[in-house]
Symmetry: C2
DNA sequence: TTGAAAGCGATACCAC
DNA sequence: GTGGTATCGCTTTCAA
């Protein structure tokens, strides 16, 4: 329960607190101390005493004095969503290696909670924010940027030009899924989406329609928009499949994992089989996609890249060194295929 | 980019900084201010000025002075593991509602990183730690408790009596899985586990053996321990299944999600089917378990409860109000079954 | 290379 | 109810 301060170390080592501060903040350079104008012997003694006494820097004090906290905050809508969880893990890792601590939080799709969280983070002097915003979150986030906290948006876009952005090209993702199915020889391709108009979904829909039109298949475009509610959605998909059998539909694009799950459920209920009755292109990740080989084709977002780009961009913004161009990063989704004969599934482009 | 301090508010409102501090820390009680000995009118004026000026408390300063940070740290081995992600989400939620901020981090099964993280968290003056420790993590965590930071262990146990614990009864989980299979009429039940001797696994193994012995089936006990490496494990399971067909094995207990995935892979490779050739009891959660109805029986840990109990216990420990008995919480795993005919899968006990 | 001293912004303690 | 002021532990000039 002891509290060892910089003074204790200074006294014990017979030097001034300044020296101790220098030593404790010195970065190793190839060999010994570099950035610190301290006699190596003194430094060694200080280090030794610090260790013996079990000294640990009080970050609150350091942060108060220096104005830097060496921490950032990451706010997503749901920490338990595998999509965000993976991004968070990667960001935490990068941050750790860069000497940053990260505070995570879930906004749970509530602009109010987001606003409250932003206040909290501002109070913690975080140096930057990475946010997967919920609808209506712009006010809260503008608050952050207005007090000088750089903010990077991921996953979903929001109006406002003070933000950095690392987004995925969902139009392209929709196009890619559709073109892949063309490549497999299918033309009667449909998409099942939700009624709620979030951009990630509408962009995928748009990509699908575009690709169909470009292929001269505008008459075959069938874009189903079902209810978001789980029970309604389940039933909706079953109905669509029933009709699809009559229509002779060849393939479905399922632009979210949940929609894919409802679709597998519908297959079971109707006693259908995947390569025989329909072909699927799914989105995101699921154990089910990988159950058999070749895997069920699925479009994934480059999670590690999202993490890396957003963290890098944030650091640039913290250093006020990001150009307007650098502040808008667009990444490409990947289509995962294959895996037969002991070969790992690979990404492909269409 | 302005910085509004308590002094600015005090000056503008024509009161002392003390008053402002009182007001800013006052908790609402039913009606107006309660715990603060300030004239309601003055308080209102201060609040008003604070809002107008856009004042936000500097937590670093508050923490430095008061010694309290209103933050806790949660360290798991892998943030992206759905098991931990779900626990983290729940803890974050509870913490948020209790006015705490939480710092998350992954130890990635490295005692060194864990030690470093603990140092960092200590430096941040976190009031407590919730940790899913990696092997060899006891030294690092004892460091935390030795400087007076209450620590609660989840998922895995570690020696040391300064820790609080919220663990799941894995022996019982193993027993439960086995008894369920008895109940289905099976006797030739085997378990596939790993060679690495982590307690969560050995406990489940122990439960299986115990149940088998109690049923007079000691001669049927077949506990396979395969390599942890993915490729080796995949091959291992395939071999086991081949032999099992000859032996007439009826059921397998797969005590981790990954082992279950390898097993599904083996079924595919060998062209086997689940209810026909073998029965499975799996562990954890996977989309695959829920693919068909009834669901594949699987044992899950009470994640929300782990989160709730560990956070509650930690708070008790922070207030030095936890008895030795309260410091050791054991939770029961649940067996999930059913879901046929539109009925939701439910938990059962055996 | 080294050290003295001035704060960072809030809270705690004590007077009034 | 209200206000002064001494810290909290550290970083940061500025001199020596």
């Amino acid at each position: 329960m002891k509290k060892v301060t910089i003074r204790d170390v200074a006294r014990e080592a017979g030097v001034s607190v300044t020296l101790v501060s220098f030593v404790m903040n010195a970065k190793m350079g190839k060999d010994g101390r570099l950035d610190c104008p301290v006699n190596p012997n003194t430094a060694a003694r200080v280090l030794d005493v610090a260790k013996r006494l079990g000294y640990r820097r009080n970050n609150a004090a350091a942060s108060l004095r220096s104005g830097r906290s060496h921490s950032i905050a990451v706010i997503v809508s749901d920490l338990a969503n595998p999509f965000f969880a993976e991004i968070c893990r990667n960001i935490e890792n990068l941050a750790y290696n860069a000497g940053y601590t990260v505070i995570f939080a879930s906004s749970e799709e509530s602009p109010e909670k987001l606003a409250h969280l932003v206040e909290t983070m501002v109070g913690y002097n975080v140096e930057g924010l990475i946010v997967a915003p919920c609808l209506g979150g712009e006010r809260a986030l503008e608050r952050a940027t207005s007090v000088g906290i750089p903010t990077v948006l991921i996953d979903r876009d929001l109006p406002g030009d003070s933000f950095g952005r690392v987004l995925v090209d969902n139009v392209d993702a929709g196009v890619m899924a559709t073109k892949y199915l063309f490549h497999q020889g299918f033309g009667k391709i449909e998409m099942i989406s939700y009624k709620l108009g979030v951009t990630s979904l509408t962009d995928r829909e748009h990509g699908y329609s575009m690709a169909m039109e470009d292929a001269g298949l505008e008459d075959e475009i069938r874009l189903h928009r079902i209810e978001y509610d789980a029970d309604a959605a389940k039933k909706g998909v079953i109905e669509i499949f029933k009709d699809a059998l009559k229509r002779g539909t060849e393939a479905f694009i399922l632009p979210t994992k949940k929609l894919a799950m409802y679709s597998f459920n519908a297959l079971n209920v109707l006693g259908l089989n995947l390569p025989k009755d329909f072909s699927f292109v799914c989105f995101d990740e699921s154990d089910i996609y990988d159950l058999k080989k070749p895997v069920i084709p699925h479009v994934v977002q480059p999670l590690a890249e999202i993490a890396e780009k957003s963290f890098t961009l944030l650091r640039k913004m913290v250093d006020s060194a990001a150009t307007e161009e650098e502040k808008n990063v667009t990444l490409k989704a990947k289509l995962i295929l294959g895996g037969r004969f002991g070969v790992q599934p690979t990404e492909a482009s269409f």
